[in-house]
Point group: C2
Amino acid sequence: MKNGKAHTIKLADFLPYRLSVLSNRISRAIEVSYQDKFDLTMPEWRVMAIIADDGGLSAGEVATKAEMDKVAVSRAVSKLIDSGRVDRQFAEGDKRKSELFLSDDGRKVYEQIVPIAKSYEAEVLGQLSADDQVKLGQILRKLSQIDLDKN
Amino acid sequence: MKNGKAHTIKLADFLPYRLSVLSNRISRAIEVSYQDKFDLTMPEWRVMAIIADDGGLSAGEVATKAEMDKVAVSRAVSKLIDSGRVDRQFAEGDKRKSELFLSDDGRKVYEQIVPIAKSYEAEVLGQLSADDQVKLGQILRKLSQIDLDKN
DNA sequence: TGCAATTAGTTTCACATGAAACTAATATTC
DNA sequence: GAATATTAGTTTCATGTGAAACTAATTGCA
């Protein structure tokens, strides 16, 4: 996985590009499967998935957990509230802070999308041996610790 | 790397999500490093990288090689021509078909970005042992063969 | 206790992008 | 040779998103 010359690059061998193309292809396929059916974008899906796992989170906490920009979370939450899939209260101790929950509708949609999403994941993982699946998990865990800020 | 219950999902363990977050973080870091400095977007960079490797390609061929949408390639090419980094001719045998080349300016920009991009790649790969780097390459190659269209 | 700094989340503006429709050129068929 | 289908690439329109600025509420400090 080495790129030869110092001043040329082969995108096909460039790790960031390969990761990006693969990831986009997988994510896009999953998104296409639910976006029309449920009138739901990927940011909205991710917010729902975080809230389903842990009701009562603030928008800021969702942003942190989902590794999403707070603006994106804010927009997704607004749309989810408008569509009746998420309910919002404000914390008693801090009126700025929202507390987000899936509504009944939201949970129904969530529970319908989960098996779809999982079947895609299974299909992807099905390309790999059990050993390679474990290995991939380990590698992704290591890589996800990286801090690439160059300040 | 298994998600337990059939109707719930933990994003943190969901492979497509993990790939997406990791990939976006890496790609974003690289993009930030050149976009202001060179007034260049990621689609433009990718087009340049493909053309640098193989001058005289058509826009359609670039789209195929870069796994990019033809509209995105068209837009990137237009901007690269406007900024004087790419030259375009049209094929003698087919006036619809463009033939794209990096200009001198384009090649200079390209040669400045390549080491930056490679240093990010090296930093990412530096998180892994040599064995794991090889393994990751194998796994990505396998996964990239997947066809997720569900028609 | 009042004021400045900080925080939680929202909105604005400009630009990017997805989807569809379009133009011009070529290939195919009759 | 003409008409139709297809291809290469572009443009239009609507929506999403990045960056910055904003509002309201809370915290910290003098």
